[in-house]
Amino acid sequence: MKILNVSILQFPGTNCDYDSVWAFEHLNHKTRLVWHKEENLPQDTDLVVVAGGFSYGDYLRSGSIARFSPIMKAVQEYANSGGYVLGICNGFQILTEAGLLPGALKRNKNLHFISRIQELKVVNSDNAFLNRCKKDEILSIPIAHADGNYFVDDETLSDMRDNGQILLQYCDSDANVMDINGSVEQIAGVCNAQKNVFGLMPHPERAMQTLLGSSDGIKMLEGFRQI
């Protein structure tokens, strides 16, 4: 069984860092927390996780200030040379602000902070993240966000569709795609064209134990074992 070295980023206001540590260690991986002031990632990093929270208090726009932290330059270089990066919730927002993922995340359509367990439909599983899931499979994963309203222009969206970059959509328990926050095509998660940078609003690291509502997050995070 392959053991990964997972580097988990911490910005001021990150609050899912220790949940992410717990989740990846639960899968027997090794983790390291990396403070945003660092200029380099640990040399043996197999996967960078940009954990959720409220970096810099979500001031200006969610993720807009964090993306200029020193560590993000290293993450850019790491991603550009093919390294694997996963952004969860605020991490997704940071990666879009940094231009590592297409689109942007706006305030939820109903202006509410939405916090609940949500069904998701797997749109594409042919990638390093969701390869343990089947296409059209339904997963139950917690969501907790105010700025999850995914926007991307039509042209980029069409390229993303053709290239299998749309990973997850919000849906109900019968797999009917459902609008919960105003996202274009009800998108909950995407990847870049090279399929090494992934971002999603739901929190797989909070769905690791059936006792706490769902263990579907295991299936998602286990995917990275093949990288």
Binding site: L60, R61, S64, I65, F68, T96, E97, G103, A104, K106, R107, N108, K109, N110, L111, N149, F151, V152, D153, G182
Partner: protein, 80 residues
């Protein structure tokens, strides 16, 4: 030198806050409003005297940080 950068969602990008305020205005009797858009105003105090140079710099600031040009437009105004 004082400058103002206005940042607002692009035409065609849904503005949920604008929609909510539009609805609220209607509910308290202001029926004469056909649309509301909400933006941000960023007021900057600059240590420069060259207006043109300042404008260039403000443009760069807006492109890199103040606005997210995927969803937002901006305009720059030098006040004094």
């Amino acid at each position: 030198m004082k400058a103002i950068v206005n940042v607002y969602l692009k035409e065609g990008v849904l503005d949920p806050q604008g929609k909510a305020v539009h609805h609220a205005l209607g509910s308290i009797g202001f029926d004469n409003v056909s649309d509301v858009r909400i933006g941000k105003q960023i007021i900057l105090e600059l240590n420069s005297t060259d207006k043109e140079k300042a404008k260039e710099e403000l443009d760069e600031m807006s492109q890199t940080l103040l606005a997210n040009t995927v969803i937002e437009d901006y305009d720059i105004e030098i006040v004094e």
